[in-house]
Symmetry: C2
Subunit: 191 residues, 2 copies
């Protein structure tokens, strides 16, 4: 790792730490970080050399990153080795990550909760538990559904919305008023 500048080393180490807090192992985090800041695609041997991991560890790490759809694979002319890079668009990366986590963690949880909630239960404590599970289910469904919606927005709209921040409240109030006026003066229309 001495072949890397301190700037890059630092970034890679931080990412490794963060990776492990997120259930992604340190190695994988570091490989991703390296690809992310690299100005050219790298092959597995280069990665192993730069991060001082075994070749097989890199192979596994890359496979893991692939399963998260976080790497791009390409070939260089006259070179049989595979070259890896991280997609450039940070928004796209963010979305991919969100999608994958949803698929792997949120969806199975929703399935479990849905199953639990339709179960026929008799005891007091099961009834209480079920009610709690329902509350959790509804929240997760609302939030994840909304994530899906937002996901479909084009990037500019999304950025606009985010920059609006809590001022969105004003806008929602305005919307409410408009509907009232419309209904009041003209009768009900589709929103």
């Amino acid at each position: 790792m001495q072949n890397l500048s301190p700037l890059i080393q630092n970034f890679i180490l931080h990412f490794g730490e963060m990776g492990s807090r997120w259930g992604i192992n340190r190695t994988v985090g570091q490989i991703y970080a390296l690809l992310y800041v690299s100005d050219r695609p790298l092959n597995a041997d280069e990665i192993a050399e730069m991060l001082d991991f075994s070749r097989s560890n890199v192979s596994m790490g890359l496979k893991e990153l692939e399963s998260w759809r976080l790497t791009r694979l390409q070939h260089l002319p006259g070179d049989r080795r595979e070259y890896f890079s991280a997609p450039e668009d940070v928004w796209a990366i963010f979305k991919t990550l969100a999608e994958e986590r949803k698929k792997r963690e949120v969806d199975p949880t929703l399935t479990m909760l849905r199953g639990a909630v339709i179960e026929n239960v008799t005891t007091q404590s099961d009834q209480f538990a079920q009610q709690r599970m329902k509350a959790m289910h509804d929240l997760i469904e609302l939030v994840s559904g909304w994530f899906g919606d937002v996901h479909r927005l084009d990037q500019d709209t999304l950025v606009q919305l985010m920059k609006l921040g809590s001022k969105v409240q004003k806008l929602l109030e305005l919307k409410g008023k408009l509907k009232v006026v419309a209904v009041g003066k003209l009768g009900s229309k589709k929103s």
Copy 2:
């Protein structure tokens, strides 16, 4: 764990699994799940007994949950033991979790990136890396700032926004048009 109904067992086991994927250990996930569905506060001995963990493991788990601000502690009259429960409001739980993760993971990352971006670098590759870090920094800052904003909204507004989903785009377009009209007919006003 045989003292728990299958409905609850299943929920607890699922949460344990999910916990470990999120860098929270299985035990802690299970303790939380148990508290979440319990219709009354539990003391540490009860938890240890119900989940079949050692008393000390429960103690550590509860401490961990406390550090995430996910438990409520209370005393029952005429009983010296401490009783734990999970806050009822699922929205509040969600927010607490988001806040804690932001504090522990996002903020340190932002700090690191900010530091990296203001560094004076000379090489080609460092310049490229820096540009990538800037892009990541800006995205994280935008998203987390927005999270903070949304956080401050009252729950009803938030639910309204989420239910609006991608129709928010229409609303944003409307906002744009209103501004144009206002500017065109009356001159610039505060939005």
